[in-house]
Symmetry: C4
Subunit: 236 residues, 4 copies
């Protein structure tokens, strides 16, 4: 059943590993077929070295396994809640990618600081509120509901990523491949946002001495340059 979707989901899972977004088994990708009403998802706890296309599990919206020998990802219910609420979304990725996870652990969203962010996310990438005790009983489903709550009044494809507080990122897209693409971009954007914030708080330090600046520039460039094998200015 749904061999093409399963292959797409398998390949997206392998791409996670290739893009260095996961360590060991820390991540999962799913895809959704809206006609069949079925989710294809990585099995739980299987390493990327061992994963095969036929291991991908098919589940329905009640989390019943429809096809597959293995248990689906322990985060399956989170994925299902998102597919239920976000109509255009057909692929979801969860990782513990370190830059995005650091923001999630700090409990703060990623503000837009530049065009790299703006090219993909039309505003702040939000961080969910803390989960309350009574929500932890159906933990994975509650995680999904918290994400949906966070996007009330926003289009999920305008900001195709979220940070789950004390946990890590989820990204999504119109296909599993697009969800991976957004996971890669999110990690880059988080890295730059971290550094932007630190730079703004650690400014006002002194430049080097002008005389050493001149010495080194002119050692390599201009008429009296003496670096390298040629007398003329050169670039290395």
């Amino acid at each position: 059943m749904l061999e093409e979707l399963k292959r797409e989901v398998y390949e997206a899972n392998m791409e996670l590993s290739k893009r260095n977004l996961v360590v060991y088994t820390w991540g999962n990708v799913s895809g959704f077929d809206s006609d069949a009403g079925l989710v294809a998802i990585k099995p739980s706890g299987i390493s990327y070295d061992d994963l095969k296309a036929e291991d991908i599990v098919l589940v329905d919206f009640d989390c019943n396994v429809v096809e597959g020998e293995l248990n689906p990802s322990s985060d399956t219910k989170t994925h299902i809640e998102l597919y239920k609420a976000f109509n255009e979304v057909k692929g979801i990725v969860h990782t513990h990618s370190p830059w995005a996870t650091s923001f999630a652990q700090a409990g703060i969203g990623i503000k837009p600081f530049g065009t790299t962010h703006a090219d993909y996310f039309w505003g702040e990438i939000p961080c969910t509120r803390l989960m309350e005790e009574n929500e932890t009983y159906d933990y994975e489903r509650s995680t999904g509901k918290l994400i949906v709550e966070t996007f009330e009044g926003r289009g999920p494809l305008e900001i195709p990523a979220v940070l789950v507080n004390e946990h890590g990122p989820f990204t999504w897209g119109k296909t599993p491949a697009e969800a991976i693409y957004h996971a890669v971009v999110l990690e880059e954007v988080a890295k730059m946002a971290f550094r932007t914030q630190l730079l703004r708080r650690n400014q006002d330090t002194e430049s080097m001495q002008q005389i050493i600046l001149d010495k080194h520039f002119l050692r390599k460039h201009g008429k009296n340059a003496y670096y390298g094998q040629q007398k003329e200015s050169n670039i290395d």
Copy 2:
């Protein structure tokens, strides 16, 4: 003797190198056979490029070499103290992996900030107290005793890692392979904890201008997008 344990310890040592947890000879792995009462450990100062399975040294709890041509790791007595005190532990890893070592050098434990930590460590990864002068005479054994003291009242498999103050991390597990696994996880968790702490202390910076945010998002997405080769919205 104990060929299987020696092979396991050899492979775990090589995995340290493959996982980029060690530079030159900065690390060692041991395994323990409780029936024989013997520890298999890396020889001292041998580089991972040169290490062979038959180089693994067998020592008893008095640190006598029972088999092997080479001197055992200079940290052997530390390993022995842990095997004596932690019954379920059958594999131990010591590295100078840079993120965990930075916490050890700062003298502070790694607090749990998110689920990546919580999946493996049921609480703060503790840092030992400073060693006192009289403890330095039997330095490596004292290091082991300090770790054991730090875990008084805690189950070592609930938090299978420690930071030795002014030194670096030790991790352990039910096998040498599991100890390595925990060393890899510790390094990831330390990296994220570092960034989480810095993010919380470097917040409150301004977002970019809304007009540039809009410009870039709409240059790529929606009806009037003009980035790329197609008129329709696209992801790259």
Copy 3:
């Protein structure tokens, strides 16, 4: 037409990818032939894996495509403004390389802190002022004009790089290859400047205990060293 320039521009684009300065399609390189008055530039939204030398597009100073099947980079007008204003410049590179982009997002220039900077950039690498609303209507051309304004009174080859505020870096040179070279150097210089600033603001911490310093140094060096396989002092 201009086959050699197109090959040079193609190779410079591939070098961007090889040097890890771009993720996906985030970057573009152009070259300028002043006799023909034509710019050779990467097509928009084409991934580096798929790019071929014959895909390079030739445009004139009015941004008309003179040769090529594909749309030129969406940043083409920015490149054209620079070639118009900077006579000696014959190659331009735009990236979102993460260290330089973090400074651009923070809105601060990169001060010269050491000789690595001084060897290539004769002063602070400036950050442009924020773009004003009325400038956003012809966005890419305005970006170029802002860069030119920033260099009023400065020789562009004395500081062959700029940070566009809320966006990212542009670098240039006498050839496309030299522009790439400067993009690589800029990223290294930005990385070191970031760390320099943070170090200056995070000083005054305590050294380790002298007794442990002595213990470890003397465990490896001198007459009583006992680390490794030999009794004499050794380096590992």
Copy 4:
């Protein structure tokens, strides 16, 4: 002449590149033969891809080229000053390795914070004072003299590294290979010292909620674990 020394110096230069300590041509290694009174050193501005063993230049203490077709490194006089003053030193390395260079640019030494440092450097790795204007006329020789001044009263093999203010590191050893080894260790030690300093200044942040800590640990470990394919506690 001195074919073996030249090969050693060639191989040490290539090791610099392999260990990722240099970008382009930013580094040089030399070796010293005290019987011949000659220094073997990398030629200036030659890339590591093009370097051949026969390119290594031999110079005497007056910086006259005794053998070789190419100009010696522009830093040759710095190396000579060190060989003159430091009797046991027979190999010297200069790089712009980014972590060590960041300390040099900040103008602060690297304090000993842990045993990784203590295993190789018996105290703070010092940073030279700023160069004065009158010293810049014989710039490279003055750099060497400044380093020697910084080590007055210290044994250069007890701390085989220095940070030249506003510039970058030099390391040394009893052979060129040992000098490289110290360059690699210095970079690791600088990286950890940076993070140690930042951690100490960015503490006191809150742990995660206990209930989520429990939830995730117990989802994977113990009787009621449900992560993965097996009911028993597992490690991944």
